[in-house]
Symmetry: C2
Subunit: 131 residues, 2 copies
């Protein structure tokens, strides 16, 4: 068996690789857009206090994906593995967003109480007094 | 924290999910097309006796992917993980194709010699004699 790099790349292989490169670019841009959406979902869930993961929704997505995979001729087992991989990353991300949001609100509370103490101590004019 | 399924899905979340579903359908169809291409690559490599994996090509793909990820705003580490996952599946597939091709050619050799023995034994008329 010969390594491809030890030979000249045959024209047919080069042509298929050009198609694969185009498809990969499209996949990356679609994934980027998908993550923009799931980032928004993450922020929305954090704002509404909803759990990062949603097993019922994930089950629905898997069912739909299996049907799409069959329709498109993609191996459904592989499609499922890829989606599980992407969803795991999304849930991890939602967790990070929720944590950042809760530590941000904790920080805001600290800022508020810190500011109040300074106001009480007379170091800072009350923001209300500035109105 | 509340599970989404225990509440009504807010309209904003439902709208984002509809976008995610559309993007997922596009991703599945693109992945299916990518696999059609890599299947052809697999058959071509098996025909030409080329190795299933090609580290130089994979390195090129990773470099390109990192640039595309940065350009599109996708986390490059995640993009790399997804591509590594897809490539691993493709290489596994190429191995299966190569193995099937070599066992097919071994089977053809067995068929040929088996047929020859039958011809020699006078059980079957030689295909050449039938011409």
């Amino acid at each position: 068996m010969v390594a491809v790099s030890e030979t000249l790349v045959p024209a047919e292989l080069a042509s298929l690789r050009a198609s694969i490169d185009n498809l990969d670019a499209a996949l990356v841009y679609l994934l980027a857009e998908r993550f923009r959406c799931t980032q928004q979902v993450g922020h929305l869930k954090a704002r509404l206090g909803l759990a990062p993961s949603d097993p019922a929704r994930e089950e629905e997505q898997l069912q739909r994906l299996r049907a799409l995979a069959l329709e498109s001729g993609l191996d459904p087992v592989f499609a499922e593995k890829v989606l599980a991989f992407i969803i795991a990353e999304v849930i991890r991300n939602h967790g990070v967003i929720a944590e950042a949001a809760s530590s941000q609100s904790a920080k805001s509370r600290i800022d508020f109480f810190g500011l109040q103490r300074l106001v009480v101590a007379g170091w800072v004019r009350s923001p209300k007094a500035a109105l």
